[in-house]
Symmetry: C2
Subunit: 197 residues, 2 copies
């Protein structure tokens, strides 16, 4: 649209790239923000710039944080000897919302996928193997989605981890379901009913 | 979630206030942005700040622009004597996408609504009456939604404008429909078949 100021056109284009937003909802969101310039647009721009300046990937587990280590890796309380392996940070947050897991995490950054040519080195699997050796790990809990790729990844990881108990979330994860969609109760049930692989 | 850095928590909360996004889609969007820090997060924050610095409401028509007058009001080509009255800027953009209207606009900023206690002074109606006197206006085209409030507003405006031809979009606007949802062809048909009020 030639008569829309280029600054606004640019903002709409960038907003439309967000997951869950298309061109139409991006236009709506941008007009909403312009109407609420001081209450919403300016604070949102600042919050975004602040995350751009501070957000970092935890060197140990792959979670997001603001230092070399995330808050969970920094907390000695979380050194229970249990590591929960998740596909991504959204799944870690879903586990944390359930409040049932007290240990630390390992964020793979995806699942093995022949179709997308994602092998073990594209994921954080070698780092997980190192952690088993370095930390006093007593149990690795695989909290991966009940998808084909998720389960392939779970079995591959179980094969890599010798001499440590490996379990996986069992009851409650619906077939084909993704962890981040589950309610807290389902996650709690699945964790409590975990079984040895 | 206590272990999410406060900077990220703040960004999620602010994103969740956007129309069309809830807490879950805001979390997804923020994680997506953090993953694409340099390609998406930083440019989006800058685009947003830039719009915050530059976006202004056109003093004449209420459209968004970057100066006292919007690009359409600045363009002498658009001084056709026709003014198209729309509810909001999203509707103005929808009209512009159809490309069929060559005149200028007047953005009301909503519709009259007894329920929401929105009267003529809450809208840009007095300014429209002034424009009829100040500019060489030959026709006012009411492009309001086919809702009860939209049609009430259309009739109120027609009553206020003496001595100028007032028409309204007719054919093509579905009953209960909002302008911004229509395709370009429907808008074109509705404009071409406009009828005198
Ligand atoms: Zn960590
Ligand atoms: Zn204008």
């Amino acid at each position: 649209m030639s008569d829309v100021p280029p600054e606004i056109e640019t903002l709409i284009e960038r907003m439309a790239k967000l997951p869950g937003l298309g061109p139409r909802s991006a236009r709506r969101a941008v007009l909403h923000l312009i109407k609420k310039r001081s209450q919403q647009l300016v604070p949102l721009a600042e919050a975004m710039a602040e995350v751009g300046r501070t957000a970092r990937e935890c060197l140990r587990c792959g979670n997001v944080g603001t230092g070399d280590l995330c808050a969970i890796c920094q907390s000695e309380k979380r050194a229970t000897g249990e590591i929960c392996v998740v596909e991504d940070v959204a799944d870690l947050w879903a586990m944390e919302r359930s409040g049932v897991f007290k240990g630390r995490y390992h964020v793979l950054g995806g699942t093995l996928s022949a179709l997308d040519a994602i092998g073990p080195d594209e994921l954080r699997i070698p780092r997980l193997v190192e952690r088993i050796a370095d930390e006093n790990v007593t149990e690795v809990i695989l909290a991966l989605g009940a998808t084909i790729d998720g389960q392939t990844t779970a079995h591959y990881i179980a094969d890599q981890l010798d001499g440590v108990k490996v379990t996986s979330l069992a009851q409650g994860v619906p077939v084909g379901g993704e962890l981040d969609y589950l309610d807290d109760g389902t996650i709690t049930a699945a964790l409590n009913a975990r079984k040895a692989l």
